[in-house]
């Protein structure tokens, strides 16, 4: 039985566990129908031209976590941003882990999707926002069909959330290969500000496939900083579908740092519903081995006077493949749009490859849109210069690569994250230098 059939047939079993009369369940039944007709995407689809899911779909995943597994804080401390105080929503094999987490209902709601779906006081928020940003492509639909757990964050008007919020998914995969489908909903009301850090981490040698959907709503003048840290092991694959719907004058930024994982696909979509919106999409990808990273971004400019900035850097070693598929759509009404997109890549080894496709689709005339894309090598002269000054080749190369990726790091607003990423870059490049000299 292939994975699609398995998922479709297990939907009935899933129905036994959830409230089938709820508002959300209607959406779920629609979604499973969509998934049943579309199935998993294949390379024949333009958006999946360079990324094949075949290999990872062959595994025999267990689609429901069977038992609760617990892990000790000291074992996973290194995966958390632990040097600052944060709210934490932590899941182990898709189940909420209360002893590792730190949630709150004090003025703001930082809690669980399962709670939000069942408690009447969240009904309005759920009905107004749930599945209102996600598209009905096959993978998002699949997630919608099985949506039951994840992070639920609701920040009411005029709140500045003092601590960043960490959303971390651990998988122990104690029994077998595991498929996880977390569903996050983040609603930030007028004038509020929140910082979110998301991470998926596998602690096992068994295969893990995560198909995650995150919906983010930025209402008027809201500010959202979202950081995704992707440094999973060789057996873990991640399909991250993030949909961000922005209202006027809101600012949203997503930084994606990809250093590991077997196959990582980021579908990052921004929709601008309002004027004077600012969207930022940035990413650093440094991978090797047989890793495959695919950044698929969409910025949809619907109304006038908005901006978007995209900057993705990639360094590819060994047999790694990188894909960047960035799309900027500017609608007829979206005059005075400024949209920038840059994708720069370095191929380190002979067997690495990169496929990039920065697209512009523009229907308005009074706009400034540009994109740039480069593939190149490290500057030989700069390397030589450093070597003549006694810096070993490896370190010299690492310094140049760090400098290459640094633009993206500059806009990271939490210093601890910047430090953590810098350290990860150093580890990834195999050097022991601090960079922030």
């Amino acid at each position: 039985m292939d994975l699609k059939e398995k998922l479709v047939s297990s939907f009935m079993a899933f129905e036994n566990q959830v409230d089938v009369d709820s508002y959300v369940h209607g959406i779920r039944t629609e979604a499973i129908k969509t998934f049943e007709t579309t199935g998993f995407p294949t390379k024949k689809e333009e958006a999946w031209k360079y990324t094949s899911l075949n290999k990872i779909l062959k595994q025999d995943y267990s689609v429901f976590p069977k038992q609760e597994n617990s892990i000790e804080y000291r074992d996973v401390k290194k995966y958390l941003i632990h040097d600052i105080d944060t709210y934490k929503i932590i899941f182990i094999d898709g189940k909420y882990s209360s002893h590792l987490s730190e949630t709150t209902h004090d003025g703001i709601d930082v809690c669980l999707m399962s709670a939000a779906l069942s408690k009447p006081k969240y009904r309005l928020v759920i009905e107004n926002y749930f599945n209102k940003a996600a598209t009905n492509d096959s993978l998002s639909s699949l997630n919608t069909a099985f949506s039951s757990e994840g992070a639920f964050i609701h920040i009411p008007k005029n709140k500045l959330v003092e601590k960043p919020i960490q959303i971390v998914h651990f998988s122990t995969g104690n029994e077998s290969a595991l498929m996880l489908q977390p569903r996050n909903l983040i609603v930030v009301d007028e004038n509020s500000h929140v910082q979110i850090i998301e991470r998926h981490q596998s602690l096992t040698e068994n295969s893990v496939l995560t198909n995650s959907v995150t919906e983010v709503f930025a209402n008027k003048r809201a500010i959202i900083d979202y950081y995704k840290i992707q440094n999973d092991n060789q057996k873990a694959s991640l399909i991250d579908n993030t949909f961000i719907k922005q209202k006027q004058e809101s600012h949203a930024s997503v930084h994606t740092f990809t250093f590991g994982g077997n196959l990582t696909r980021n579908n990052l979509n921004f929709y601008q519903h309002g004027e004077r919106i600012d969207s930022t999409l940035k990413g650093v990808t440094i991978i090797g081995d047989k890793q495959h990273v695919d950044h698929n971004t969409l910025v949809h400019h619907i109304e006038p006077n908005c901006e978007s900035h995209q900057d993705y850097k990639g360094i590819f070693d060994d047999n790694a493949t990188g894909v960047f598929n960035g799309k900027v759509v500017v609608e007829k009404e979206a005059q005075k749009t400024n949209a920038f997109q840059a994708n720069n890549n370095i191929l380190v080894s002979d067997k690495s490859s990169i496929n990039t496709k920065p697209q512009l689709e523009i229907f308005a005339d009074d706009v400034k849109c540009s994109h740039g894309c480069t593939i190149g090598q490290l500057d030989e002269d700069a390397l030589f210069y450093m070597k003549t000054r006694g810096i070993p080749e490896k370190e010299a190369k690492a310094l140049l690569m760090y400098a290459f990726a640094n633009n993206v790091l500059e806009s990271v607003k939490i210093p601890e994250i910047k430090a953590r990423i810098t350290k990860l870059i150093a580890t990834k490049l195999g050097v022991n230098i601090g960079f922030n000299l």
Binding site: L347, D350, I354, Q359, F363, H371, I375
Partner: protein, 482 residues
């Protein structure tokens, strides 16, 4: 000074009729509509082709029957009914002329109307013309001068008869019969086209030029061009098209193959001005063209195109950089107006070491038109030190048109250096203000800016052609561009 704004320009663009839309009444010998094996055989027979050619066409036809029309392009149109097209049309009386006096005076008059005086070109521009009215070539000039150098420049049907060994060796090597839907169709039914062979070490002393015209209502034109530059040779080839006004859609599915052997250079320039349809988007030519060149060691192929016509354009002149140190270039201006749609660009396939490619694409969209750039730069694992530079700029006039960019970049070699940049903008008010301030009226200012925008590409055209290209830009954006 009367204020001339972009709105006025738009208004003018809307109402501007196709100037070159006239129809020459030459008695034609046209096949009944429809396509089947018998039609393919009949075309081949009519052209007195040898058996291998008939076989080759049939093979292509068999492949075509199995293929489906591609749909991936960013264009929307009513698909042509391939059984409702007549696949062969030739001017009736077709003796071979030695001098222009013998040519049908009506035809000469039609050329005059187009501003292509053969006499003038002969004398002043030193251009040899292989004039193609509908599908059969009726006049070839300067043949003698070329013959002295050993250059073969003739219609492809003549070449099939006179130089079968060359045609047989090279036809279909760059664009195979089964390459794509339209290439297969062309391979099966091509009526005529040009053939050009430059012998070893010869530098062709003049620009070779062909004018294509679709003339007969309801006849698709299937041109086949084959240019071979032998080792160390050089040729510059010009191709230009205009077509009369028609209400039903006409199909044009040409195939152009360029073969540049070691150390040779081919420069291929196109000015395309098929009938774009009227202001409501009715009629117009479908232009589905497959153009591809193959570069051997140290060879260079340069494509330059000015695309102003056709209702739907679907065209990707490509270079296969097979030999080491070979160079591919692509310079393009695509202008769309009213309901025109253009999906055009290039493919640069880097196979050899130290190969270089340059892509400069300028798109100008006005009215309700859609203009897309679609390009592929592919660096294969063995292509060490490959270098590519791409630049795609779009200029939008009015808020009902669209500009799209779909660049595909695939690098499989670490020593590759690739740069791609694209911009989209409109004519800045400050730019116009600056010109106005200096006494240049808005109309001229827009002309100036559009010209400046296109200059990178216009500069690449041969002298004689640049004038015509300017003229065609004028027609497309008339009243404002000079």
């Amino acid at each position: 000074m009367s204020k001339y704004t972009e709105d006025d320009l738009r208004e003018e663009l809307k109402t501007k009729e196709y100037e070159y839309g006239f129809y020459t009444d030459i008695a034609s010998d046209t096949f009944p509509v429809g396509l089947n094996e018998d039609v393919v055989i009949a075309i081949s027979k009519r052209k007195e082709e040898p058996e291998w050619m008939t076989e080759w066409r049939l093979e292509a036809f068999k492949a075509w029957k199995e293929m489906v029309e591609p749909e991936w392009a960013n264009v929307h149109y009513k698909k042509p009914d391939f059984q409702a097209i007549s696949y062969y049309s030739a001017p009736n009386s077709k003796p071979k002329y030695d001098s222009l006096d013998e040519v049908d005076p009506e035809l000469l008059a039609s050329f005059k109307k187009l501003g292509i005086s053969i006499d003038e070109q002969k004398k002043l521009a030193n251009v040899a013309m292989d004039v193609v009215v509908d599908s059969v070539s009726v006049a070839t000039t300067f043949k003698k001068t070329l013959a002295e150098k050993g250059i073969i420049f003739m219609s492809i049907s003549e070449a099939i008869k006179k130089h079968p060994e060359l045609v047989k060796k090279y036809i279909g090597t760059v664009v195979p019969q089964k390459d794509n839907f339209y290439a297969a169709l062309n391979s099966a039914v091509f009526s005529d086209g040009s053939f050009c062979y430059i012998p070893k070490g010869v530098r062709c002393p003049m620009e070779l030029s062909t004018y294509f015209r679709i003339n007969q209502a309801g006849t698709g034109q299937f041109e086949r061009t084959l240019v071979i530059a032998d080792e160390g040779s050089y040729v510059s080839y010009l191709e230009g098209c205009t077509a009369p006004s028609r209400d039903e859609n006409q199909l044009h599915a040409a195939v152009v193959e360029l073969i540049a052997l070691d150390n040779s250079e081919i420069k291929y320039s196109t000015v395309q001005n098929w009938y774009p349809g009227n202001a409501e988007g009715k009629g117009g030519v479908y232009n589905f063209v497959t153009k591809r060149g193959l570069c051997e060691t140290n060879a260079k192929i340069s494509w330059t195109q000015v695309e102003t016509g056709s209702a739907v354009t679907w065209k990707y002149p490509s270079c296969v950089l097979k030999g080491d140190n070979s160079i591919g270039e692509f310079y393009s201006i695509a202008v769309t107006n009213n309901y025109q749609q253009a999906d055009t660009g290039t493919k640069m396939i880097h196979l050899g070491k130290n190969t270089k490619s340059t892509i400069i694409s300028k798109g100008i969209s006005a009215g309700k038109s859609q203009n897309s750039y679609r390009g592929l730069v592919q660096i294969n694992p063995r292509a060490d030190n490959a270098r590519n530079f791409s630049q795609c700029d779009s200029l939008l006039m009015g808020n009902e048109c669209g500009a799209h960019t779909f660049p595909y970049i695939e690098a499989k070699n670490k020593s590759a250096q690739i740069e791609h940049e694209a911009t989209t903008s409109k004519i800045g008010e400050d730019q116009i203000f600056y010109c106005n301030q200096r006494g240049i009226d808005t109309e001229k200012a827009i002309a100036l800016i559009v010209n400046g925008f296109s200059k990178d590409v216009l500069n690449k055209l041969p002298m004689e052609f640049a004038v015509e290209a300017q003229k065609l830009l004028e027609i497309s954006l008339e009243g404002s561009v000079g």
